[in-house]
Subunit: 349 residues, 2 copies
């Protein structure tokens, strides 16, 4: 079933990633393809988790030039199932086995494009929350005119407290610094007007708390400045963040679809577009909400990257890159340390 | 000061519009230009409200071929002022005078690109709410792949109740039918998943109430399907709606800016783009969140269209078109009638 899983957890480098081969609309084909490409490009070890005969069939077609370990996990959690119940009822599902590999130290990070709810549930129930974090958050990496912004939470927590938002801001800042390489990340609060008095009850209270924190808080931020690159970290509750994410994806998709309809289907314009294809490819990449490959789940004891349900090979490779960078930069231990410092501060007050 | 204002309120056609000449980033020049263009194209009467010498200076430069009445209103409400206080302190401000013209029947509708808060305040305090409506809502017209969708509320009410959302849905449906010409408008509830159980406390409760209403409720809708044209009316609280609007505008602006940077600044691509300009102009129009020209304020005793703060002439002309259509279609009396029917229903239960 599984060859050298223990050796994979050995003390030395390289990092081992557990990838859920069964999750996502294009699983397992695109997941396996992207994961093998990731091994080649990123020099990591890979454990593909899922239905072994299924995976082996694709591997034998793909003939990857890299070493791949397969861990048989015959069960699968569907998008429609209640995540918490499903992970209890299906201990041999691919997502549960991925989380176990991380909790047992046999893998240093996991990537899944399956049900977000199931990823959240295994992360919270198997990996457990970092002490001091009340709610883990899904951080999405938004493209901006100047680069990227980390937006959190985008769907893990529908109703949030002020404390949750401050914790999100703190975790987001560490992630931005470690993984995105931003020296002193500017934290913005997603709201509907720049003034501290603008917003709903939650954001008005969170504004005050963030202003008193030691984070580099720059105030409220709206959609316009967000996409102009006005902040490096943007905090919001999971309902608002998820709406913002889906609206951004929806507009980008509409722009692309209408551009194809209006221009690509026109015989002359089509030729002109072909002549511009290097520029258009770059533009498409700049505007791609999924270019980052996945959304890190912050606040749990392990590195978890949640990929989009419709991820293709490229997204999986990019998600693996995010996971490796978080591991190399010790993001998890930085989050833990920062929370310990906050707890000390509160105790000493 | 003002020539024939009483005759403008005469029984016969055409409709008279009051346009706030002083509101918006490009006031008064672009407002005056757009309003005069509106008279020419739409065949309405126009009362330009604002600082008369200022307006006359622009009119004498513009030399419009149409009749324009000017109503002197020397005061102006700034974006930063508290709207409710400001309209009490400045009875001769352009926005207050616009609302008075409508409340006195001297104009049938008003258009302003000034402070949204001030428009809301004059509408509520001078025109008053329609009996049965607890909160008026700002309805924004979003572009979609298949046409347009009415999204409300986009900022008038930050914290909403279930009843508010049901009233928004009802007003939005009437607006969609009357002004957008949709026969049986499909109503969606902006949320984070299609299932009734997905969302926050407000949306889960609103789902049940909308499902029991006699509206054509199609369930929850997310950003993706919204921009694919999956609903004609989309309801949400004003905080979420405003975030969605600003995010949509932000993404559209980012796409345009990056396209210009990547393609227009390239010597060869620029020539190719020039050759495609008719197609690109159409695309730009299709994606323009401001193409509608303004957002109708629904639920007050009068037709009020709030234009974007950065409106140029074209937006003002388009906003006047919206106002005229709402007047011609008797949208206001349809909203009143539908509420009376609802009240009767509740009483008879």
């Amino acid at each position: 079933m599984m060859a050298d899983i223990n050796s994979a957890s050995g003390a030395a480098t390289p990092i081992t990633l557990a990838v859920d081969a069964m999750g996502g609309d294009h699983a397992p084909k695109e997941i396996i393809k992207g994961a093998c490409e990731g091994v080649k490009r990123l020099g990591c070890r890979l454990i593909l988790v899922g239905d072994e005969p299924h995976i082996q069939r694709y591997l034998s077609r793909l003939k990857p030039s890299v070493d791949v370990t397969v861990l048989h996990a015959p069960e699968f959690i569907d998008m429609g199932e209640n995540p918490a119940n499903a992970i209890r009822r299906k201990p041999n599902s691919s997502i549960v086995r991925c989380a176990r590999l991380v909790s047992e130290g046999k893998a240093q990070a996991m990537v899944s494009a399956g049900s977000t709810g199931a990823s959240m549930a295994v992360a919270t129930l198997i990996l457990k929350r970092v002490p001091g974090i009340d709610r883990p958050a899904i951080a999405s990496i938004f493209p901006t005119m100047k680069g990227q912004a980390v937006v959190l939470d985008v769907g893990a927590n529908v109703d949030c407290s002020v404390e949750n938002l401050v914790q999100f801001a703190s975790m987001g800042s560490i992630y931005s610094r470690d993984v995105m390489g931003v020296r002193d990340p500017r934290v913005g609060l997603l709201s509907i007007g720049e003034e501290p008095t603008k917003g709903n009850e939650l954001t008005k209270a969170a504004y005050k708390a963030l202003a008193q924190s030691d984070l580099n808080f720059i105030g409220n931020i709206e959609g316009g400045p967000l996409f102009e690159g006005g902040a490096d970290v943007v905090v919001c509750d999971g309902f608002v963040g998820n709406v913002a994410l889906k609206v951004a994806e929806g507009v980008a998709k509409m722009a692309k679809t209408l551009a194809i309809e209006r221009l690509w289907h026109h015989p002359i314009y089509k030729l002109l577009l072909i002549a511009m294809s290097p520029g258009l490819r770059q533009l498409d990449k700049d505007l791609d909400c999924e270019e980052a490959g996945g959304a890190p789940l912050l606040g749990v004891n392990g590195i978890v990257v949640i990929s989009h349900g419709n991820s293709k090979a490229k997204s999986i490779t990019n998600a693996m890159r995010l996971a490796i960078r978080a591991h190399e930069k010790n993001t998890l231990s930085h989050i833990k340390k920062s929370l310990k410092a906050q707890v000390r501060e509160i105790v000493s007050v």
